[in-house]
Amino acid sequence: MLLITCPNCGVAAEETELHAGGEAHITRFGPEASENDFEDYLFRRENPRGVHFERWRHANGCGKWFHAARCTATLEVFGTYSAQTTEPPREILETIRAKRPAWTWRDLK
């Protein structure tokens, strides 16, 4: 069972309290988007065997959305953070890089 701390209310929530919302930080393209960008936004997923940035909702708790960085191969959670951001915060990236030096994610520097 996953235990993930909700950054909104501070509760260490069990998996059954949470609803998984898929990959985080996906750029939504507007009406002028190319077909390729829109297909990317709607369908293509990183789906890595490794570090994954993802959305969760504390459904049976405070009800709010947040983001988590988690490894899909070990289930280790590197940290959680607010959903009101377009990229992962520095501390989270540093935690991940300290543990996974060769790691990369899309075009994140």
Binding site: L2, E23, E39, F43, R45, R49, H52, R70
Partner: protein, 415 residues
Amino acid sequence: MRRYSAFAIAREVLRHHQGWERAWAKPEPRKQYDVIIVGAGGHGLATAYYLGKNHGITNVAVLEKGWLGGGNTGRNTTIIRSNYLQDPSAAIYEKARSLYETLSQDLNMNVMFSPRGVMMLAQTEHEVRGYVRTAHANALQGVQTEFIGPERVKELCPIIRIDGPRYPVLGALWQARGGTARHDAVAWGYARACSDMGMHIIQKCEVTGIRTEGGNVTGVETTRGPIGCSKLGLVAAGHSGVLAQMAGFRLPLESVALQALVSEPIKPCMDVVVMANTVHGYMSQSDKGEMVIGGGTDGFNNYTQRGSFHHIEETVRALVETFPMIARLKMLRQWGGIVDVTGDRSPIISPTPVGGLFVNCGWGTGGFKAIPGGGWATAEMIAKGAPGPLAAEFGLNRFREGRFIDESVAAGVAH
């Protein structure tokens, strides 16, 4: 290859079983093949088999990081049916189901295909309408199914409670020629037949990179060194995304864990497969007497082949409600597999942005039933360089073009 037969058994009995040969060879990889298939699951092995049998291409290697059939093919609950809603699905699943009918003879290996009948219970008005519609669609597609009433359900499977307090059984979609098969034997049978054609099945050989030149595939990097090829098929189920990333593109799917469990063996008590989509569980009885049970997937991306326990609890709860007599059974084993789920719950059989590189994936929770058909269609695509009629609608371009093959109802419960 020495054929398996009643005569062979008699002969071996007389010489104390000393004369059986290895079912498949254990070759060293060559430097170059015409076709490399990544993944020795059912779909990868069937692809190789039909490349040889239907298209005369036998300079083929199947590379497997673990052991053959050790992925989802050896972890599934073996339900075979073809009662899907959309025409392209009915075509490929029915092709597969009909190939299963004669697969034991074709492969000279008993795959124990048991067309015992598959029943999908309707427990809400909505489900009744959905399945009546599917039965009509199936009639037009030439797939034999019928919608049956609750009395017939009880007659076919006496251990079902049809008047439960929450979701009484209102009827069922019944496919009499659906059923089960022995999953390992399907992988072994294809592997043995491929090896017999001179193909190389190389186990414990993980693909770690994909080589391209000028946008065309030239080979793979593996844990046993580089191997060249003119055409490459990725048939890696839950790990398809990882392989696509090596080739520089992304796929429209996500990998999640799906679990199954079996009970202690009991005397024969049900001779059909029952799926209960509203309460979310399904069950059949194996030849050993174990009740084989499956349910839903986890909601989050996962590569660990372990699922969350609360799903087991939900599945068992659903089935105790449907089959009260199993309430006291002990469960023996539980396991998980990593399934590759697409947005429309239909597979991908497609060329890719890289020349000479093809994928067969996205079967998600229900691709065991499709193994002969999926292999058939993928072999045709690889041999001819473009998808044939069975695969045409399952291309990657359907997502961009909005031509989904929506099977979210047919795939309502993970099976």
